[in-house]
Amino acid sequence: MFAHFDFQAIVHALPYLFEQGLVFTLTLTILSAIGGLILGTALALVRIGGGPVLATIATGYVNLMRTLPLVLVIFWFYFMVPYIGQWLLHAPRPIKVGGFSSALLTFVMFEAAYFSEIMRGGIQSVARGQYAAGLALGMTGAQAMRYIVLPQVLRTMLPVLLTQTIVLFQDTSLVYVLSLTDFLGAASKIAQRDGRLVEMYCFAALVYFAICFLASLAVRRLQSRVAIIR
C-alpha cells in the first residue's frame, strides 16, 4: 500500500509549495474576498435601493453568476478580458493579461454575486425603523447606510462572510485549469516532474483540510460570540 511512500519527496518540495504555492493561494483568496465584499455590497445596495432598472440589472448579474459553473466563468474571463482591455484602451490588438490578474478579476466578479446575497439578507434583517430614524435625524440615505445599517450588517454577517471566504479559498484551487502555480498547481507540477503523485496529492489534501478545518472551527467560535450581541 503506502510502502513506497516517500516523505523525503514532500520535505524537498516544502519551500516551493509554501513560498510559491500557498502564498499565491492566500493572496488570491484575501484580495478576492476584499474585492468581492466591496463589489457585493455595492450590488446589494443597488438591488435594494437603486431604482428598478439598475436593480434588475444587478439581480440579473447575480443570478447569472450563481447559475454558472466557476470553471466556465474562469474561462470566460481569461479569454474575454484581453478583448475588453483592448476596447477600453483603444489598443490595436487584444492586451496581454497575466494569469494572476485574470484569476483575481474572475474571483472578485464571481464572489461578488455570493457576497451580495449575504449582504442583502443582512441589510434586510436590520429593522427598517433604524434607517428611518437616521433619515429623521437629518442624515442622508448614504449616511444612514454607512453609519447605522452597514456596521451592524458586517458584524452579524461576519461568520457567514468568513464561511464563504473558506469556500472561496477552496475554489481558488480551480485556477489549475489555467495552469497557474497556486498551492495545488505547485503540488501538481512537482508531482508530475518527480512522478510523486501519491505523496503530493495526499499532502495537498492534508494541508487544505488542516487550514479549512481550523478556520471553520474559528468561525464557529466567533459565531457563538457574535450571537450573544443581538
Partner: protein, 242 residues
Amino acid sequence: MNYHWNWGIFWDASPEGGGTYADMLVSGLRITLAVSVLAWVIALGMGSAVGVLRSLPNPWLRRLANTYIELLRNVPLLVQLFLWYFVLPEVVPEAWGDWLKSLRDAPFYTAVIGLGLFMSARVAVQIATGIAALPRGQMAAGLALGFTLPQTYRYVILPNAFRVVLPPLTSETINTIKNSSVALTIGLAELTARARAIQEFSFQVFEAFTAATLIYLAINTIATVLMRLLERRMRVPGYGAK
C-alpha cells in the same frame, strides 16, 4: 474589437470527425447530465444516511458522521477528484490498481463517485439540520406511541424532515450540476470541456462559451422548476412553508 464572430460555426464539421461542433456540445451535455444525475443519487443516499447518523442519540455514531462530513467538506472538490483518480489506484493492492487503471471510462466513474461523495457531505448537513429543526415532541410522540426508533424515523421524522430541507436541496441539486464541470480536470468530456475544445479547434471562443452558458442556464432553470413542482406536490396542507 477585431474579433471575427461566426455564429454559423456550430454547423461546421468538427475536426474530430463524425459530426458538427453542435454535436460536440450535445455529447458534452449528455455527459454533464449523466454525471450530475448519478452523483446526485449517491449524494442523496449517502447524505441521508450520514445526516440521520448525525441526529442519533449515540455519541459514537454522531462522531462518525461528523468526521465523514468534515473530511469531505474541508478538502476542495478538485483535490478530492485527484485523490480518487491518481492516488487510489496506487494505494490499493496492485491487481485492483491495474484493473482501475485499465477501466475505459475511468474519468466518468471517478467523477460520479467523487462528486457524489463531495455533495453527500453537504446533503448530510442539510438533512441533519432539517431533523434538528423539527419540534422535539415529534420524536417523543412517536416513541410514546410504541414505535421503535427506526420506525419513528421512517414514519414520523424523515417524511417531515425531507419536506423541510427540500428548498435547500434545490440549490444543492444546482451545485451538483455546476460542480460536474470540475471533472474536466481529470479528462471528462463534459459540457465545459467540450466548449473549451471547440475554442481550441476553431478559435471561436465566445460563441462556444455563450452556447455553454445558455445550456447551463437552461438545465439549471429546468432543475429549479422541477424541484419547485416537487415541493408543491409534497406540501402537507397547513404545515411547514408559508
